[in-house]
């Protein structure tokens, strides 16, 4: 838990751009919501590694949101069920079902489709929300925090040494 908290601060305080971190969190969100071994996760993983985004943020987000996915599983399945059994979308899904990619991606599975649609539809607001939050944090909270006596005291603590260690690794992972 302590390490996770340190990683979070490390990411927020790193010199990576806010867009890179926000995009990483969004992609981690989509991967985290979906079942692990599905085709769209492989594609996202490819993008994550090929495009310069913050890898540490992606791994952190994927881990956090996979926990959320477990809590939201009923809702995710209901979304998938509603989409796949909707009479209005029946012809669209019948058309998509003829393609191998659709079936290989398991988008005819209620959980997979529900998670993917929920992830994609929330990705845009999540991207901008995350970006704003990180910017605000860096502008106001980080500076104010560093001025606090308690932070100064913490910097001299074991926690800070651990932070510095992880921060060093993180900067490597999140090399922008």
């Amino acid at each position: 838990m302590l390490t996770l908290l340190v990683k979070l601060f490390s990411v927020l305080n790193s010199e990576s751009s806010t867009r890179q971190i926000a995009l990483a969190i969004v992609l981690g969100f989509i991967v985290g919501l979906s079942p692990l071994f599905v085709l769209h996760n492989v594609v996202i993983l490819f993008l994550v590694m090929f495009i310069r985004i913050h890898l540490g943020s992606f791994i952190l987000a994927a881990g956090l949101f996979s926990g959320l996915s477990y809590l939201l599983s009923s809702m995710i399945i209901n979304i998938g069920e509603w989409l796949l059994t909707s009479s209005n979308l029946h012809s669209l899904f019948t058309l998509l079902y003829q393609t191998t990619f659709f079936k290989l991606a398991h988008w005819h599975n209620t959980y997979t489709l529900g998670a993917f649609i929920l992830g994609v539809s929330l990705s845009f607001p999540l991207y901008f929300f995350t970006k704003i939050i990180i910017e605000k944090y860096r502008e106001h909270i980080m500076v104010t925090f560093e001025k606090l006596r308690i932070v100064k005291a913490l910097k001299a603590s074991k926690f800070y040494r651990l932070y510095e260690q992880v921060s060093g690794k993180s900067s490597y992972l999140g090399d922008a």
Partner: protein, 616 residues
């Protein structure tokens, strides 16, 4: 210049993409594939053990798993599933199962197994170690009391005197009612009889008429006076006659009420006998369904077991109703299923979501070895338009018995299920089977030879309300029994069995598959009834004679007690007749006519004398 632009472009590309990431991705994928290849068997083994344990709630063990990739073939060696009720034993186990799976279809979300072989499938085998139980199931078996249908009838007939003294007897009650009605009606009629014209009054009427007849008529005025006097008397007759008519109507009503009650009283002994028969279960001696008493519970249990099996497969079959759900567009509550489900749409090359093309299971049970062969095992038959066929054979069932079962079924796109099947058993040796284990009777079949055949049909109906028709015929020969009877009834039943070496049982089931109506008939019924009747018929006939005689005596007594009331009624009827007749005669008296005639004659005489005086 151009090199600067190129460098700038490269820098720009590097700003957004990292080639090292592409290599890392490929390495990662290769690593995952390698790991999967190396640990696939272990992962599948773990998945079977953990997944199986999650489903059955007990420890599941797999010795090893072999995976062959081209073509994809999965072999599971020695699978053992712990029995939750007896953890030292397995619920079931098998030595080896091999499944040839279509990998491409599996990746597309369909499980198509070309060939499934299960060897040495066994039930209730001893485990090498006591298995763990993760979920304790509450046993909700309806342990039916096996003597619930066995009549607790003790053939001790009730005392006739006590029965006849019973005030709740209908004969007594209705006789009392008859007496009451007699009293009521007599009172009403007596009151009316007091209003009737008395004999003296009638004599006075007659005297008056007589005096009117004797009155002298000299003139028309005299005649008018006579007529007026007669009319006055006549009006009095009419008033009295109305009273008589009223009494006559009341008499008819009273007679009708009494006749009805007398009929009830006369039939009361018959109803009393029926009630006594029912109360003391005397009628059951002649109508008891012995086969149902003895075999009904067991037959019901067998059908309950079939029903449990049906309930197990019904949810799987119910998944075939995807098309129906899609039409409605109403999302199904699937919150219980944490992995979602696949929904398949119309396809150019359609295949069911789950299909075992060929299956062969060799099963070894304590009763013998079985070979189960199945083809086209699926819940979506409409895709390939082929029915599931299932055959079970055994040639060593309990040493030398032969068993054969074959069935075909298919599920339509609209969820209608059609199935049929037949079975036969031959030369099956049965030893030491408990038939009845009740308080009043224990009956054990020591040994017998069983043969039988039957068929069933499940036709045209939604999964939830499929109709079942099944006829099953069993023949038990060379049977020997042992047992103990507490009551007279049980002892007679036991004797009847011990004198029988052969009988047939027919069990038919029809109706809803979850709650079929069972009808059981047997040649045993006739045999037991015959023996039973012989033993108790005389005793029962004597009892019936005594009781009916007593009831008839009560009836006669009641009717005799009311004889005086009846004679009163007859007298009253006669009195009414007399009064009515007398009044009618008085009313119709021709006294006025006579006086009129007299007046006419006088007038004629007077005229004659005047004419003779005039003409000489």
């Amino acid at each position: 210049m151009s090199s600067n632009i190129m460098k700038s472009d490269q820098k720009s590309l590097k700003q957004y993409f990292r080639l090292s990431g592409l290599i890392s991705f490929l390495i990662l994928m290769a690593l995952i594939t390698t790991l999967l290849y190396l640990f696939a068997e272990s992962l599948i083994k773990l998945a079977i053990e953990n997944g199986g344990a999650a489903i059955v709630g007990t420890e599941v063990n797999v010795a090893s798993v072999n995976l062959q990739y081209s073509p994809l073939k999965l072999t599971v060696n020695t699978l053992e599933v712990t029995d939750s009720e007896l953890p030292s034993h397995n619920l079931f186990s098998f030595k080896q199962a091999t499944a040839s799976i279509d990998l491409w279809q599996y990746l597309l979300g369909k499980t198509i197994i070309d060939q499934l072989n299960i060897e040495q499938f066994e039930l209730n085998t001893k485990r090498s170690h006591v298995g763990e139980i993760y979920v304790h199931n509450e046993s909700n078996d309806d342990k039916l009391n096996d003597n619930s249908l066995l009549p607790s009838m003790e053939l001790k007939l009730p005392n006739v005197k006590d029965l006849l003294n019973d005030s709740s007897l209908l004969t007594i009650k209705e006789a009392q009612q008859l007496e009451k009605i007699y009293d009521e009606e007599t009172k009403v009629l007596t009151a009316l009889s007091e209003q009737l014209p008395s004999k003296a009054k009638l004599v006075a009427y007659q005297a008056k008429i007589k005096s009117i007849g004797k009155m002298k008529v000299k003139s028309l005025a005299d005649f008018e006076q006579i007529k007026a006097e007669f009319e006055g008397v006549k009006n009095a007759f009419i008033v009295d006659q109305e009273i008589v008519n009223k009494a006559k109507n009341q008499l008819i009503k009273s007679k009708s009420r009494l006749t009805k009650q007398i009929d009830i009283v006369k039939n009361a002994p018959k109803h009393d006998w029926q009630a006594i028969e029912k109360k003391y279960q005397l009628e059951s001696v002649n109508t008891e369904d012995f086969a149902h008493i003895l075999f009904g519970e067991q037959a019901r249990r067998y059908f309950q077991q079939l029903n449990h099996f049906y309930n197990f497969i019904a949810p799987i079959l119910a998944n075939s109703s995807v098309h129906k759900e899609r039409k409605t567009g109403i999302p199904q509550d699937v919150s219980a299923d944490k992995t979602g489900r696949f929904i398949h749409f119309d396809d150019n090359s359609p295949l069911p979501a789950f299909l075992i093309k060929q299956m062969k299971v060799s099963m070894v049970l304590g009763q013998g070895s079985f070979e189960i062969v199945g083809t086209e095992l699926t819940h979506q038959h409409w895709f390939r338009n082929r029915a599931t066929e299932l055959k079970i054979n055994s040639i060593d069932l309990i040493k030398q018995g032969e068993f054969n079962f074959s069935s075909q079924f298919d599920i339509k796109k609209n969820s209608d299920l059609n199935g049929q099947g037949q079975w036969f058993i031959n030369n099956l040796s049965i030893g030491s089977a408990s038939l009845v284990n009740a308080k009043a009777l224990t009956l054990e079949l020591e040994n017998a030879e069983l043969s039988g055949e039957g068929h069933f049909k499940i036709n045209q109906g939604r999964i939830s309300s499929s109709k079942l028709i099944s006829n099953n015929h069993f023949v038990l020969t060379q049977a020997n029994y042992n047992g103990h009877g507490e009551t007279k009834f049980a002892k007679i039943l036991l004797d009847a069995f011990q004198s029988l070496s052969e009988f047939t049982i027919d069990i038919d089931a029809k109706g809803n598959i979850e709650q079929p109506e069972l009808s059981i008939s047997s040649s045993l019924d006739k045999a037991v009834k015959s023996i039973f009747t012989k033993q108790i018929a005389k005793k029962l006939a004597e009892f019936k004679k005594q009781l009916n005689s007593g009831l008839n005596d009560k009836l006669s007594e009641s009717l005799k007690n009311n004889e005086s009331s009846a004679s009163e009624l007859i007298n009253f009827e006669m009195l009414l007749g007399d009064r009515d007749k007398a009044l009618e005669e008085l009313k119709n008296s021709d006294v006025v006519k006579q006086q009129k005639k007299k007046l006419k004659n006088k007038a004629k005489d007077k005229l004659k004398s005047k004419l003779s005086d005039l003409f000489g």
